[in-house]
Structures are given as C-alpha cells and as structure tokens.
Subunit: 283 residues, 2 copies
C-alpha cells in the first residue's frame, strides 16, 4: 500500500516501513521511539533552527566522546533518563535497598582489602568509618557478599580523573563479608563535585539554569551468591546539593547518617545496612 | 520544594529543576522532550542493555561525523523527523509547490548558467530536458526567480561524493527566470541511489528490514524577491523506490512526468511548474 509522508500521519508512514521479518522487540521499541519523537516535534512545533541546534548538539557530543569521557551518558544522566531506566529494571519491595545511577567512574578490579582497612591513599580529607551489615529480606546476615566501594577524593575528583596526581586505586576497594554479614572500612567523608560540564551537556545545563553538581556520596556495588546485584550510593545528608543532584540520583532511603565520632583520627562515622533481594523473587 | 526522583513522576522531577530565569522557549522545548523521552522508556519498559545499545549508537554516529558525512542528519532523515520538521514549518495551500527534504548534497555557489544550458559535464547518463515555469498563486509568471538545481550522476553519486572523479559542478547550476517565468535546462534523467549506509544508520535500517535507497529525483531550490523559498525535488514516477524512499521525501504532488522526447540527443523531457507563496501570506 502506498503511504507517502504526511504531517498528520508522519509516524505511521515511518513505522509502516518496518519489514515483516524485523525482530518483534526491535519493532516495538523503534516504532514507539518514532511515535514519541514525532509527537514531541508536533507538540512544540519544532522550528528548523531548533532542529539544526539539536543536530549540532548531538554531533559535538559525539566528537567529545573518548575512553575517558562519555558525553551521551552525561546527557542521559542529566535528563533523568538513566535513573528512569534503572528504576524500570530494578523495582523492589520497600524493605530492599534501592539502586541509583552507576555513574562513569567505577573501575573493575579494585584491590581486595581486609575488613576494616582504609581505602584512602592520598592523605586528604576527613576520615570516615563506614560500617553496617548486608542482610536478606528477612534480616538475616548475608555471608560472602562482595562490597565494591569508590568515592571521589577531598578535592572532588576520582582517581581515574587524575592519573599521576592521585595514587592508583585511591578511595577504592573491595570487601567481603563473613558469617555476620558485617562490613567496616575507612574512607573519607565524600565531597560534592561537578560532573564534567565543559562540553555540550554543561552548556545545556547552563541554558536550563541548572548547576552541574552532585551531592557528596559513597558508591557501593554489592553482589552475593543467590542475590540480586545492588548498584547504589549513600548520600551525605547535609550536602547543599542533596535536593538538586545534577543526575537525579538521590532517593530518600539512600540518605545515610554521617555523624561525628569520638575518634580524632577518624572523626566521622556512617552506618548503613544493605538489604538484598533474592535472585528468584519470592512468589 | 524537595522533589527526589521517582519512577512515577520522573519527568516532573527533571522539569522541576529548570531555572526560573530560563528562556521560555527553551523551557517549553526541553520539558516536552523530557516528557516524551520518559514516556517512551516507560511504554516499552526499556531495558539496560537496550539503553547501552542506544548510547553506543549515538557515540558511533557522532564519531563518524565529518565535513563530508553527517550521520545525525541521516538518522533524522531516515526516522522521518526531517520531513516532519519541514512540514511543520512549511504549511502551504494546495496550489503552492510543496517542500521536501533539503538533503546533505547541496553546495552553495554553483555556476550561474544561460537558460537552456546543460548542467551535465561527465557525459554519462540519458539526457533530459527540464522545463516549466515559476508562477505565483494567481498563475502569473515570476520574474527573477533563481533556480538552483542539482542531481546525482548516472552512477548514483553527487559530484561532492567523488572529488577528482567527477568534474566540479557536474549536474549543478543556477538559472534565473525572465519576464515569462520560464526555465529550461538539460541534465540527465536522475537515477536512484542509496544514502550512505556503512555506518550505524545503515545498520539500523538493516535491523528494521528497510533498504537505504532514494528514488531518482532532481533537486530544486527556488528563491525569488517577495516570495517564500521552495526547497524541493521532482521525482521520476516509474522509479522502483518511489513508494519506499529511505528518507520519506516523496509527495504525490512532486512526482513529475519524465517522458520520452523525439530528440535523439536528449531523449527525455520533464515538464514541471513551480508555484511560489508570497512572503507575507494573503489574509
């Protein structure tokens, strides 16, 4: 059937072209994408100069991408799209620890450390004791949970952003729980920092009247046999950017206590329990 | 007001961040974009691997862009988005000539040629006489209309795609109408050709079971003092890809007669009148 393009049936004309043998999921995703993109352009009556701005934005973003910089993930993050995809794919009962964005600064293969060890190697920042337990939904300790942690340093940079300046694996480490499910390590009280904002995403944020800062947080990637992976942070509750995280990562349940401790070497303490979902959800 | 991210109110959380002093049009466009993107992800329940595929697609597309290649325009074209934006911004009464996509192969500064001249310099292809008139909505001839024309050669490539192979300005020229509004030039009967499809857009088309071909067409960019610009093509009606233009550029009103002529040197003739809208639309 002939179906020339028309403004009124624009998305239908495009989607009618999808071949009979196309994968059904590809058809579903791409036809929905076309419908929503066309509905967007129609709703705002997108102008030709605005279209050109979008093409330039995407092109500049692509040209900036490298092994150290992923501008499209920043775009997805700052539009709340990364958090949405994470939410869709990680719905959990209220008792379980919530996910948040993975972020671009995780590095696989961090050192396995003794329980209680210090992950900070550059001597900067205020030391903080992180402690708590990894539990199942019934409150039983999870043995053999691997807790992969990482944070920025006191200057607001991850080690990978400052190779040669920070010691390798600064503020990173992996800890494995014993029979009591407990974890304990020393790091620094993390500090807030701006996401890379010298590219098109930074310009977009400025145009929207938004700042590029993330509230201070410690990253946790927790895996355990028989349990679903948790990718999350704990946030420092008094951070000025807690209400306005540039990537929308904050959830109320992830705001952790960061309290003054009596220890002068380690003047902060943050206690937080993680509750894991079983791999096969209970019926 | 605190508005942490939630799956249910994801777009609202993002749009609540737009600053008070942001430009109103920026707010309108970006908040609609966020709403539609989030609605898309929710409708299809986008998975994490699909999100990763999208990030890779955009990154690869961006890295491929150069002075000679614009993969994001190809993406916009093949999703019918370019045609939609053109349609939104160029609504005209039925009597006026319709627009279609500009395409990436126009080059400013083509040679001004004598009316009736030949634009084909490589000796390839079947010669075709293009002729007709430029008229206003009342059918009166438009004097001083500049008609900028360009097409591929008989091998399916524009001159700029084959520098050093095709003569410069092959199948390009600019003609200016006299008091009778008439135009007349010799080119070739254009041939269908694939858009560049060795990149991510080509892969996307293959995944969707779509071919990358455009039906044969001659490009026209017509400007005249006091009239709105027309960016259009005339299409060869017997082209096998007429019903399935990879960029959705075909409109029924733009399918032109390409008829056999008695002249053995110029065995084809295509007659087409262009009707221009005045700059200030009639009340």
């Amino acid at each position: 059937m002939t179906q020339f393009f028309s403004e009124a049936a624009s998305a239908e004309a495009v989607n009618a072209r999808i071949g009979e043998n196309a994968d059904e999921r590809v058809r579903e995703v791409m036809s929905a994408l076309v419908r929503h993109l066309h509905a967007f352009a129609k709703e705002v009556q997108l102008t030709q100069p605005e279209w050109e701005t979008a093409i330039d934005f995407l092109t500049t973003a692509g040209q900036l991408c490298s092994a150290e910089r992923q501008e499209f993930i920043l775009l997805s993050d700052t539009l709340g799209f990364s958090m949405l995809v994470d939410a869709i794919n990680n719905r959990r009962p209220a008792a379980a620890t919530e996910n948040t964005v993975f972020g671009p600064f995780h590095v696989a293969g961090a050192p396995e450390r003794e329980m209680g060890a210090c992950i900070t190697a550059d001597g900067k920042g205020e030391r903080c004791l992180f402690e708590g337990r990894v539990l199942d939904l019934e409150g039983r300790p999870v043995e053999g949970a691997r807790i992969d942690v990482w944070s920025d340093n006191a200057d607001g940079y991850y080690d990978v952003q400052q190779p040669g300046v920070q010691p390798r694996w600064n503020n990173r480490g992996i800890f494995t729980t014993g029979a009591d499910g407990a974890y304990r390590f020393v790091g620094i009280k993390p500090v807030s920092y701006p996401i890379p904002h010298d590219g098109p995403v930074g310009k977009m944020l400025a145009t929207l009247g938004r700042h590029p800062y993330r509230p201070a947080h410690m990253h946790f990637l927790i895996t355990a046999p028989g349990f679903q992976k948790v990718v999350t942070h704990t946030f420092v509750g008094d951070d000025p950017y807690l209400q306005s995280d540039a990537v929308f990562g904050v959830k109320a349940s992830l705001v952790a206590p960061y309290e003054r401790a009596a220890d002068s070497d380690t003047p902060w303490r943050s206690t937080f329990d993680f509750v894991l979902m079983p791999l096969a959800p209970p019926a």
